[in-house]
């Protein structure tokens, strides 16, 4: 559908949140949690933090949580009786105040989880989620969205996008059918935008630092250059921080927790950075050293994903770099790959 453009007053945001709350939506938005900002359920607008650059974790937890029950079972004398968990049993959700990179991240997850066999746990939650993203008026040195096809005002993956155009006003872009339905809940708060309102002048300046096509080509052709990958990965400590805060990382583990009578099967986040990620039962580990695992991370996002789906598996949010205890800084590494 063609996007519609409207104006909303900042002062009306509390009302907007209230409308969704009273319609029974679960509203998730950035809130302060100690020293970090996290996406958590909110009851009112007052709890929401809109001036943080980014939340520490990505928004993927809305449809791909860190722990999720996927099966329940009883262990009876006659055998194990399974009780499937209903993927539809999730509420209508509003994801509010996230960044364009967060919304973009869902595109990768949609391709992965939508691939055959389709993952209903993710898809149903995603279906029931409306995303209102806020365009970025600032950025920091870790951001590189513009180098991977995104941008501070990019609308991919968003149902609506709000851009601050003055201290009192937000430009509202209604982008999808779902967005239109959501906008109907607060249509009375919207006014027409004057022609020529250009959001780009309010957006952060994020300089392009590499040509992503270059990264894809060079990464693919450098697969066997073990020195190159070793150089990049020596300081990596092999934790899962980057994978877990990343909006596009989708690897998961399945764990059963049970007693002698019944149990549950849980889906949990996993990371290719862990040394045991590819450990076979035989004891053989095809990715025995961290340089192989680091290479895999880059290749997956910048070679295998573009090959199998439509784009790179990275939205340039820089969360991995900010969270990394060893300062692996993916923007730096990608720039050096492109410069090879």
């Amino acid at each position: 559908m063609d996007k519609e453009i409207k104006i909303l007053k900042y002062g009306d945001l509390p009302k907007l949140i209230g409308r969704f709350n009273s319609r029974g939506f679960k509203v998730l938005a950035p809130v302060r949690s100690g020293t970090i900002v996290e996406i958590n359920p909110v009851g009112s607008f007052e709890e929401i933090v809109l001036d943080a650059l980014l939340t520490r974790q990505s928004a993927k937890k809305v449809a791909f949580p860190k722990v999720e029950k996927v099966l329940e079972f009883d262990i009876l004398k006659k055998g194990v009786v399974q009780h499937p968990v209903d993927p539809e049993a999730c509420p209508e959700t509003l994801l509010f105040g996230v960044r364009p990179c967060d919304a973009c991240g869902f595109k990768s997850l949609d391709s992965i989880f939508g691939d055959t066999p389709a993952d209903q746990f993710y898809l149903k939650k995603k279906e029931k989620t409306t995303i209102i993203s806020f365009a970025c008026t600032t950025a920091d040195e870790y951001c590189f969205c513009t180098s991977v096809g995104g941008g501070p005002g990019n609308t991919d993956g968003s149902d609506l996008q709000f851009t601050p155009i003055s201290p009192e006003e937000l430009l509202v872009e209604i982008l999808t059918d779902k967005g239109k339905e959501a906008a109907a809940l607060f249509g009375d708060l919207l006014t027409d935008a004057s022609t020529g309102t250009d959001k780009s002048q309010h957006l952060a300046d994020v300089k392009v630092v590499f040509d992503v096509k270059n990264v894809v080509d060079k990464a693919t052709s450098s697969f066997n250059d073990t020195e190159f990958w070793l150089d990049q990965s020596l300081r990596c400590i092999g934790c899962g921080a980057c994978a877990f805060v990343c909006p596009t990382c989708a690897c998961f583990d399945l764990q059963d927790e049970q007693n002698t009578k019944k149990g549950v099967r849980l889906r949990l986040w996993d990371s290719c950075g862990f040394s045991l990620f590819t450990l076979h039962t035989s004891g053989h580990n095809p990715r025995e050293v961290q340089s192989q695992r680091w290479r895999q991370r880059i290749m997956h996002k910048f070679s295998y994903m573009p090959e199998q789906f439509n784009g790179v598996g990275c939205v340039g949010c820089g969360r991995c770099s900010r969270a990394c205890p060893a300062d692996m800084n993916i923007k730096e590494h990608l720039t050096s790959i492109a410069a090879q």
Binding site: V67, Q258, T260, K261, K262, V264
Partner: protein, 152 residues
């Protein structure tokens, strides 16, 4: 309303406390039936993770008991255990887990009466503390165990 009957797990060493508990029985001393006894070769073998597992699986209280210092069947097992418990208790307390829910004791093979006292006093104490709710509601698996237990 039914009175709360705590579930207590006792981890005891084979040579002293287990034998002592046996003596309690043969002496026909009555004591609270809330305790499930698990026999170990030595208290030195009792890993703190086993205690955590007991709580996770629904125990309201735990008893850990073995030979008196200098009387360990394996000479020094209980000395190692003692050090471990000193550290573990400190950690549990700091993490906000009630250390009163774990009762440590030295009960020898001749102390049938003492075993009964340890059990009875522990049951009384745990009854006062109430069910171990915090642990029980902490996880998905706790939900599993609550319902699983009722099948018995």
């Amino acid at each position: 309303m039914q009175e709360f009957e705590p579930k207590i797990v006792a981890f005891v060493c084979n040579w002293c406390t287990y034998a002592g508990a046996d003596l309690t029985g043969t002496s026909r001393i009555k004591y609270a039936a809330n305790v499930k006894i698990i026999r170990f070769p030595c208290t030195g073998r009792i890993d703190f993770m086993i205690l955590m597992k007991a709580f996770e699986n629904g125990a309201d209280g735990i008893i850990v008991s073995g030979c008196h210092p200098n009387d360990c069947h394996y000479s020094s097992g209980n000395f190692h255990a003692r050090r471990r418990w000193i550290v573990f208790r400190n950690l549990l307390n700091f993490a906000g887990i009630e250390t009163e829910r774990i009762q440590f004791s030295w009960v020898s093979a001749a102390e049938g009466l003492k075993w009964a006292d340890v059990v009875n006093n522990t049951v009384k104490k745990i009854k006062e503390l109430g069910p171990n709710e915090n642990y029980k509601k902490a996880s998905v698996s706790a939900e599993v165990n609550e319902e699983g237990a009722s099948h018995e």
